[in-house]
Symmetry: C2
Subunit: 343 residues, 2 copies
DNA sequence: CTGAAAGCGCTAACAC
DNA sequence: GTGTTAGCGCTTTCAG
């Protein structure tokens, strides 16, 4: 339909000439705003099709001050965690015709600030920041300039910005409680990186569940992890060599949970039978390992969607009161946890 | 350092005024091109810092005709496959100061064309297309307009464009050969979606290895899959119920390999001992399952990097002769394959 | 309802 | 070396 001989780029002006109207009119029908008579609209439509016109978003952005682009800043892309969130964002965005610009900071704070700077200087209409490392560096500036942004899974660092997260505390509480229901009383816990809010919350959930059940908190059973498999393995080994071994281990995320599985296997114990293992996140691999890992699902895709909707709302009305949403986690029972064995 | 009272956006003109020079001079130092005296350069530098100037990339893009953005079009984000590729792209891009715009087509051809259209209309300087669905729709137009692009893991559909892929045939050949070395002669094979080039190549590799070893090709052992776990499971079940059961199953990707593992387990057989399983891709989960899956690694990150370098080269010199690179695959031996059990 | 014209912020000749 | 001045392609008053 389009095309025929497109050497030079077709501009609004070309279309206007073709339709015998002004560029203003063409702009009006392209953007479907402002008054245009049926007649002119039809002529323009026809010309649009005939010429195969495609809008130049840069030019429009410059002229209108709106880029129809939102920027996404993530610390890394190594885990499927981010892919899931991006999916949610993407789903919301296509629906409204926004484009997505992706930046990876690779955990470099400086890079984070640099990206944020370009993004906010006309490139994007709003920003989504996943697991921000150093929000203090720019959040204040955003507020001053009323630049729309939303934090995803903020580390609890910023207490006031608009954000969406998950009910990490409740999730860990539910998970621990499930283990307790199964009869476990000595439950090992491997934390995440403790400078992150979600890690702190998960530990808190574990403690609360214990307390509610009247089980004394034993610091020996709580080891610090880093959300990565190798340390999960190591800490699990330490837990397993305790004189009074735990009967269940709760890892603060699935990756570490896989490490725990490995350690349990290496020690000759049977997963589920001899020792229960619980993860957190519900990454795709959780259902692929054997036995399938029981875990606490974190609604990543939904988080991405919710954050995007919130951002879009704030772009439309920057003074919308700040909201903070925590989406519910959910226990996904599979086969790595069992009723405690024995007497 | 920067900021102090940024209500209005700071423009080149502000900086020029501040430094008592023309906007042209400021532009020269900002872009570090053209002649500027030491003195002016210093004055401008100071003013830049004092004002906290950040370039508006839209304006620059419009004026220069170069956006310093490259567009990436992927069919989906569900699997870590794409995350790995994106990592590679991202690594190359930050090094040269380009930004990345991400588009997901969700396998909708129409959406693919639409994205491609906006992207090429000024938004991006070049395009990276992963697993393109319907390249015929726009490739011709790219060539006519000399718009730079590179295909990643092209489906063999387009025989002439610049592209990077992996040695799928050789990889499958190596994998099959490994199985043969282990003593297997009845090797089941589950293909990918056969309309994709990589699936065709992998099957071809399997057949070649068989032939080279003088093992007759048995169509009964080759079942069509779709690269997803459920069908891997189903087809494995069919393979296992064959009267003359295979002693090894080669799945065209890891996801299906996991399905095969499940099926083998469900049938009461032991993975490795009773039946060997080989995957393809080497996704992260491959090392997390139990037993760890032996597989053929596809160098996704490197593919992303190579494609990006190629694209950058073509942006710089659009008439660079078309290149097609196939990066080497590599057998990753883990524990799901064993020497065939004795007669 | 439609058109003319003034920019959006920057770059790139082209003078000086 | 440095400044002037056209635009880049579009939106958006503001007349008419």
């Amino acid at each position: 339909m389009a095309s025929s001989h497109e050497e030079r780029r077709i501009t609004l002006e070309d279309v206007a000439r073709e339709a015998n109207v002004s560029t203003a009119s063409v702009s009006r029908v392209v953007n479907n705003k402002g008054y245009v008579s049926e007649e002119v609209r039809n002529r323009v439509m026809a010309a649009l099709v005939r010429t195969g016109y495609v809008i130049n978003r840069q030019a429009r952005g410059l002229a209108s001050g709106k880029s129809q682009v939102i920027g996404l800043v993530v610390p890394e892309l190594e885990t499927s965690y981010f892919g899931e969130i991006i999916r949610g964002i993407d789903e919301e965005l296509v629906a409204v015709g926004y484009d997505l610009m992706l930046y990876t900071t690779h955990h470099r704070k400086q890079r984070e600030s640099a990206h944020v700077a370009t993004l906010t200087a006309g490139l994007a209409d709003g920003l989504l920041l996943v697991l921000p490392q150093d929000p203090g560096a720019y959040l204040e500036s955003f507020r001053r300039r009323r630049f729309p942004y939303v934090l995803i899974d903020h580390g609890g660092i910023d207490e006031t910005g608009p954000s969406v997260g998950a009910t990490n505390l409740q999730g860990a509480l539910d998970g621990t409680d499930y283990l307790i229901q199964l009869g476990h009383r000595r439950i090992g816990f491997i934390t995440g990186k403790m400078h992150m809010g979600c890690a702190v919350d998960r530990l808190a959930g574990y403690r609360q569940a214990l307390e509610a059940a009247g089980i004394p908190y034993d610091p020996e059973l709580v080891l610090e992890g880093d959300f990565h498999q190798p340390l999960g393995y190591q800490q699990a080994c330490r837990l397993l060599s305790l004189s009074h071994r735990p009967t269940a281990i709760f890892a603060s995320n699935d990756a570490m949970g896989f490490g725990v599985m490995e350690a349990v296997r290496d020690s000759g114990l049977r997963i589920g039978h001899d020792i229960s293992i619980l993860g957190f996140d519900n990454v795709p691999a959780a259902s692929m390992v054997h036995p399938p890992l029981t875990t606490v699902r974190q609604p990543l895709t939904e988080m991405g969607r919710a954050a995007t909707r919130m951002l879009l709302q704030r772009i439309a009305a920057p003074d919308t009161p700040v909201e903070r949403i925590d989406l519910p986690t959910e226990l996904v029972v599979r086969e790595s946890c069992r009723m405690i064995a024995g007497p």
